[in-house]
Symmetry: none
Subunit: 210 residues, 2 copies
DNA sequence: CAACGATCCGTAATTATATGA
DNA sequence: ATCATATAATTACGGATCGTT
């Protein structure tokens, strides 16, 4: 099944000599193991030393337990580290390294997830923004039209008011006054609400000079 | 059985000219047809001993050249790989590994950058959305008011029309008809444009039944 | 031709090392 | 010493191509 490659079995040959039984995939046995590596001495570069240790893959069982512990706590206390190492038949150093790498993996994985999440909500917001922009446009159209119609009605009222009975004129003028203070001459205006062509309103061929 | 790797003592620059390397390096990408790959040649092998030691940390000079090449192309053709390896005094395998790891680094770095960028634009869009929401609210207020005023004016017109001379009535009724067809009874209406309290408009103590 | 196997190449994940805070 | 981080090397898996059958 597993194709043994030149490079791989070279490693295997070497490793299996040092760590018998560790590379078995199907039956991962418990490696009770002597560790040929010694602790890293002071930063004396041990380049060229025997330190070049080939990586041995941890068995699935070992990984399972490590993952479980990682789920409990992302950090390790040296106390638990030693215990875990003994339980797994690993060098405490390996356990520590495993946790470090696991934290790094966790971090980048988390970043990916965060990115996906952010991207998703971003697209949602963009769509909502687009919807709002359309709504604003429609509202402005409606508003421009409504105001235009108001002016038209007011113009008609004004025209009527100048040739009506006094009582009616009072009513009309009163209404005009209210309208004027309510929105007609208000000081805050959306410049872009009124369409250009509404700047000069022609009703029945008459320019109302607005 | 054949051990090939390692022995990267840095003095085996000669072994690299075994890769006759071949033509072609199209941006292959996804599975699509003829991608004349590298011709394969008999493996030559095995540099040096079994020494599983890792010659870690490439020199700054080596990294500089590698980075430069990476800048040109993120992928390596075996031809260039062999040449580069010879130039650097490295095992071609190491060059390949370096590029693989470099691509991985590039990928995660890019993800980080993309995340920052996305986050930034997201916040911008959120702000714009908020602004648009406010604008919509204001426009709705204005629109409700404008329509209310229109109705008030129309109400006044109507009131005048019912107690005026026939000639005036004609004018008034004509205006009403225009208004009615322009927006007053249009069939598409923003349900949320009119505020709840405007559902029943009282003008001068008169319910217009809207 | 098709099928197969060996060999190369790449990605993704993993293990380990080196260094600085 | 521990941790975070960068880097190197290894492992496993998959795809592509060549050389045979």
């Amino acid at each position: 099944m597993t194709v043994i490659r030149d490079a791989t079995d070279g490693s295997l040959a070497l490793i299996s000599r040092l760590y018998p039984g560790l590379y078995n995939r199907p039956p991962p046995q418990h490696p009770r193991e002597t560790k040929p590596r010694r602790r890293r001495k002071r930063k004396a570069g041990n380049h060229g030393g025997i330190t070049g240790m080939k990586k041995r893959k941890l068995s699935q069982e070992q990984v399972n337990l490590l993952e479980q512990k990682f789920g409990d706590e992302h950090k390790l206390e040296s106390e638990r580290k030693g215990q875990l190492a003994a339980e797994l038949g690993l060098d405490p150093r390996q356990v520590a390294v495993w946790f470090q790498n696991r934290r790094a993996r966790y971090k980048s994985k988390k970043l990916e997830e965060e990115y996906s999440r952010l991207k998703s909500t971003h697209e949602t917001v963009v769509a909502e923004k687009s919807r709002l922009e359309n709504e604003v446009i429609k509202l402005k159209e409606r508003l421009a039209e409504a105001e235009k119609e108001s002016r038209r009605a007011l113009g008609l009222l004004d025209g009527l008011g100048s040739s009506n009975s006094p009582s009616s004129s009072v009513t009309v003028n009163g209404a005009m006054g209210q309208l004027a203070t309510s929105w007609w001459t208000r000081d805050y205006v959306y410049e872009d609400v009124l369409f250009p062509e509404t700047g000069c309103i022609m009703i029945n061929g008459m320019d109302w000079g607005f």
